[in-house]
């Protein structure tokens, strides 16, 4: 059997943190995605422009640069502003928060595209019928748009989740104690880098396989009652 020299448990602790970061970042990404999709489909030109800028920036800049920019840049910015106001403070960004915000920001742009396509795929006639029945905007969203968009959005969101959970490994670079970082520390302590990085790879592969399975089940559930080829 593979000998983890006592570091096996810390790897699993790291996995816990990886999943936590992934879930939190996914929530941020979904919220930003809904906002972005609303912006792209809105009638206001500045909202569309802002949403367009958002996706352009995220598509063009590597995640690592964004991560470093936010982790090292935001404290500098806040300190600079505070100094100009007369206060002399030192603040540090928590790697967890930075990681969640950056990854959520990046994958929010991916989710924007997913949601935009999903909302546009809903039949316009349903909206007209809902307006004719006197529903207000929020009710229309809650009862008509959201349930149907979910069915179209699930495959895309599932893909976003799978890419997102792998991106959380980047946060190890700013020393968050998640799977990659734990593997790195263990590898350094035991001089067996291959064993531990292979174990980390195995853990991520496990997450991917479980996610693929769950996604298939969720899609079947979301497509229940829809006509299928026989």
């Amino acid at each position: 059997m593979i000998d983890f020299k006592g570091y096996g448990w810390t790897l699993l602790e790291g996995l816990q943190l990886t999943l936590l970061v992934g879930v939190c970042a996914m929530l941020v990404a979904i919220m930003l995605g809904l906002l972005g999709a609303a912006g792209k489909m809105s009638r206001s030109r500045s909202a569309r422009y802002a949403a367009e800028c958002y996706t352009v920036i995220v598509r063009g800049v590597p995640e690592l640069i964004l991560l470093l920019l936010i982790y090292y840049g935001v404290p500098t910015l806040i300190q600079g502003v505070a100094t100009s106001l007369g206060h002399d403070i030192i603040i540090d960004m928590n790697p967890f928060t930075t990681g969640v915000l950056t990854i959520g920001f990046v994958y929010g742009a991916f989710s924007t595209e997913v949601f935009r396509v999903a909302f546009q795929a809903i039949d316009r006639g349903q909206l007209e019928a809902a307006n004719a029945a006197g529903m207000n905007q929020w009710l229309v969203f809650r009862r008509i748009l959201l349930p149907q968009a979910l069915r179209y959005a699930l495959p895309g969101l599932g893909n976003v989740w799978m890419i997102l959970i792998k991106a959380t490994a980047l946060i190890s670079i700013i020393q968050l104690e998640e799977t990659m970082r734990k593997a790195y520390i263990a590898a350094g302590a035991t001089r067996q880098p291959f064993t531990f990085f292979l174990a980390a790879a195995g853990l991520f592969l496990g997450i991917t396989l479980v996610s693929m399975f769950v996604q298939t089940r969720l899609e079947s559930w979301a497509n229940r009652g829809q006509p299928r080829y026989r």
């Binding site: 590597p62 792998k166 190890s172 670079i173 790879a201 991520f204």
Partner: protein, 230 residues
């Protein structure tokens, strides 16, 4: 924010940008050559070709790129004795070789999936017509399937190129001075966090959108007759 410091150090950043482009080009070209056979293996009816190809693609798409990079660069150190015996240690100790190797292996997996989807999306009617003319086997592939498949793959492959360009930023963690590496080195030297990371971000944006426009042009030239009227 003082951008004159960027003007002072711009040669390092420019060298970094050139290394980024070179790394992208190198890994994409080698990856392309190997991805087509890999896609064909995936589609093969022979179990011993299809299953290993499937596992390869699953492993390299299911694990983060940074894990793969660490596995090859740091992990090979664990097998130093064996690799020296095979005469490969000189390669595996160099960061450049490890970076190109991991980027290439990763892009082979993603590109093979793109080509597999494209080959499967070639219209049945075309293949039937070719069979009716007596074409089969290699001739069918060479004259009908592959040209059509490449044309179908162009949008997705464009995305893959952008994805690879942004993944090259990860090799900065194994001490290669690509654009991100150069930016990090200059930031640690001068503490001008914003100036250098923002400049690097802008350079990546320019590179990405140049590629996006080139691909839009290629798509228009090759598949213009297939586009819907806008």
């Amino acid at each position: 924010m003082d951008f004159s410091i960027v003007a002072e150090h711009y040669p390092t950043l420019l060298d970094g940008a050139l290394i980024t482009l070179y790394l992208t080009l190198l890994s994409l070209s080698i990856g392309f050559v190997f991805a087509v056979p890999m896609a064909l293996c995936r589609l093969s009816e022979n179990f011993f070709l299809a299953k290993p190809a499937y596992i390869y693609v699953l492993c390299f798409r299911g694990t983060p790129l940074i894990v793969q990079i660490f596995l090859i660069y740091y992990g090979s150190g664990q097998f130093r004795a064996e690799l020296t015996g095979l005469g490969l240690w000189e390669y595996f100790r160099s960061a450049w070789f490890c970076a190109v190797l991991s980027l290439t292996l990763n892009t082979i997996a993603y590109t093979a999936e793109i080509f597999r989807g494209a080959i499967q999306a070639v219209p049945r009617g075309d293949i039937e017509a070719a069979n009716a003319c007596g074409m089969s086997g290699i001739l069918l592939f060479r004259r009908i399937i592959l040209p059509k498949a490449f044309r179908l793959a162009i949008p997705a492959y464009g995305n893959e190129i952008i994805f690879t360009l942004q993944s090259t930023s990860l090799v900065s963690v194994i001490t290669i001075l690509d654009l991100t590496g150069a930016a990090r080195k200059l930031v640690s030297k001068t503490f001008a966090v914003y100036e250098f990371y923002l400049t690097a971000a802008v350079i990546y944006l320019v590179m990405t959108y140049t590629i996006v426009f080139i691909f839009k042009w290629i798509e228009k030239r090759l598949s213009g007759h297939l586009q819907r009227a806008e």
